[in-house]
Amino acid sequence: MATAEAAAHSEGKAGGTYAGGLWSWITTVDHKRIGILYFLSGLFFFLVGGLEAMLIRLQLAVPENTVLSAEVFNQLFTMHGLTMVLFAVMPMAAGAFNYIVPLQIGARDVAFPRLNAFSYWLFLCGALLLNSSFFFGGAPSAGWFAYANLTSSQFSPGHGMDFYVLGLALAGAASIVAALNFIVTIINLRAPGLTFMRLPLFTWMTLVVSFLIILAFPPFTIGTIFLLFDRMFGTLFFEPSGGGDPVLWQHLFWIFGHPEVYILILPAFGIVSDVIPTFSRKPLFGYPVVVYSGILIAFLGFGVWAHHMFSVGLGPIANSAFSGLTMLIAIPTGVKMFNWIATMWGGSIRFRAPMLFSIGLVAMFTIGGLSGVMHASAPADLQQTDTYFVVAHLHYVLFGGTIFGLFAGIYYWFPKVTGRLLGERLATAHFWLLLIGMNLTFFPMHFAGLHGMPRRTFTYPAGLGFEGYNLASTVGAGITLLAMLLFLLNFVRSLRSEATAGANPWEASTLEWATSSPPPVHNFDVTPEVTSRDPLWYDGIALPAGEEEFHMPNPSYWPLVVAGGILMAAAGALVGLPVALLGAAVALAGIYGWSFEPIH
């Protein structure tokens, strides 16, 4: 993985130079390289999560199937959810934040480069720790939502849930650190003239998502700490016989879990808000409204968590409040859809891969949004919650929405990152196969759910009418897999092609296209001055004459040492106190080394 990317970087180093070799990647603090690491790790886990999904679909292809045991199936659906949400989508989005945002705001790097490296390594440690559970007695099997008290040491005796708690604690801390870094970066490092209301939408959504992350993860972390204490030290936070309450977990989880879905979708919204204007050759329609609606979605996202809990029995007052608030979210979301279509209206649309996927997002997310309104209605949801109807809904939103948006971003920025274009014919085939595959997989799930098929079941009996839908879903999953293989083929082939993309292959309007592809280490020889929202289109950019003095940060291995120490400390919770103490010592030593590292 490192060599392919290193090769991609070997040309086009106008200005600064990248050192080669594995060590240079391990010690890198460059936002572009960290972006690539984030993205490739995310892509790897996307394939892992996809493989888990394939196994799930294989087991459910026919009723009473026995390809997988109940226990393995339960581990797989748990890990599929966790992997896709936390280790595939979030890091792929973080890859784009890292690589693209500093370029879009005309900065030389993020505000805290070493902290940036640290969040990557810590995320990777969390991902590896959680996934290693497969080899140490079994992965967690209580769902990604891990409802108490099924997660207590009585009902989940193995170490699976401990891996869950520890792995997610690391990943959560990594996300919070990264989010803080991006907030500071976006607020402070914008090029002169790049006011907030001139920021590209992708940078805007990165900012909004970063705030979501720092507000949403702490409650979840508190929940996992309670759980850790219940499991390891015999506290009774979620144990009713001791005065605890399992419903407390649900509140803590969904106060995180619901904003989390906006953490997953808003970056995709940001991407298509940049892509659609580019390929329609028209500025974004109603820019302020698109920005404000994004902020409003994020804000409302904190007030709707209990719509995941309509069947818990919270009573009519709570249920109607959460029902009503949830419906409100449909308004800013709908506004976005209309603004995107209005951006295309009157444009000159080029159907290149990034645009195809953006159109796909608008078309598919609409379906997911509408089924979302159906379960915003609490009484209707009582028939839908915990069924395949919800599985259909969430995949229209997260696959049809987020994944399509991320692919739009991948096709859009691949030439910026590598200097090469992804093959357009394979890309088109990828798009249509993926569209057909995902619809065949997820559309029938609406019917399976409404006809009474609960989710998270490792088997279902013949005779309830679920057979046809499930077989269709499995065939659809096969087509989706095929589409992914086309993508990988294209990816690898294009990395080996000629670097002919040039600085601005799509004739786009935002700053990242003002520098070479790939950009030099320092991004811009001189910091551009921005005078309009679409600087590259309407003479909105001025490049001050003369040379500029700047320092790029030195490579550092301390971030990795600290992250490794924390990983060791976490593993120590399972292995034994000495390991934990050793890990803490390593982390402290790392922090010391980091603090006193000479800057130049």
Partner: protein, 346 residues
Amino acid sequence: MTDGRPRVPGHRRMLMFAALAIASVAAACGGDFPQSSLRPQSDVAREIDSLFRGIFWWAMVVFVVVEGALIVAIIRFRERPGAPKPRPVHGHTLLEIGWTLAPAIILIFIGVPTMITLWRIDRPPERSEVRVEVVGHQWWWEFNYPDLGITTANELHVPVGKTVDLRLRSADVIHSFWFPRVAGKRDLVPGRVNQLWFTPDSVGVYPGQCAEFCGTSHALMAMRLHVEAEEDFERWVEQQLREAVEVEEAGDDPLVSAGRDLFFGAGGCISCHQIRGTVAAGILGPDLTHVGGRGTIAAGVLENTLDNLASWIKDPHDVKPGNLMLDMGLDDEQARQVAAYLLSLE
């Protein structure tokens, strides 16, 4: 501005795809769906169903408008050689206010019926005619009728046209009680008592199952609802009230008596199961006083036949992975004897 030119291939492919999708959906819709929420058989379920159908049609309207606008936009405004550069339109305040208000108005049409239904079904029932206490266990259901003094498992009997008032609680982890034909879900939460009610309006047997993931064999935690005519329900109640000793006097073949000896002796079954009127008073497993009269065993997973009972007793974990009944080490022959005894307990 529409034109008669040949359409772009992408667009044709999209139409083909849509046709394919609709055809596959239509083909899949033909079957019989005994557990479907779309075939309501009670007041509550009908109300939810009509609410859902109302929302569904509003959603269809929005779907057609949004997808229609999208398709028109991408066909009409695709790039054409020689076309002038698009005008840089930055927005249109009136239009944007329009498409903010339009969804808001639709939401009123969805929200108001939602609230009306919610406040009707989410409060205690007006009448409470058959009270049942439901206890969720990993992975089976216990049903107690406090007014009638009946305890049974996995098969809920209720009279048609009477309001059934359920109190739901859990013995271990969170479960969710769900008979889609008569009501929405309600969770069984440890440490809480939840309420659910419905008035079934058609005689029949309806499947249901646990809807909240509750561990290894969550998928195998099913149940049956028997909605019966008044007389049939009365007869069932009478039957349930009899103690097992009376039942046992009915007749005795050697298979049954060998099975009875095993059940009360070497089999060790009485440590977990109750048979009222005998010394068997275990509480960990389902009450077996009238197990022979049930249509299914092991929470709706197996039909209640001699063979199935025997294989369950011989190896319960083969049927239901991880379940809490112990494998008592009986051989085939012994399992059949015990099964015969249990079947005699009608």
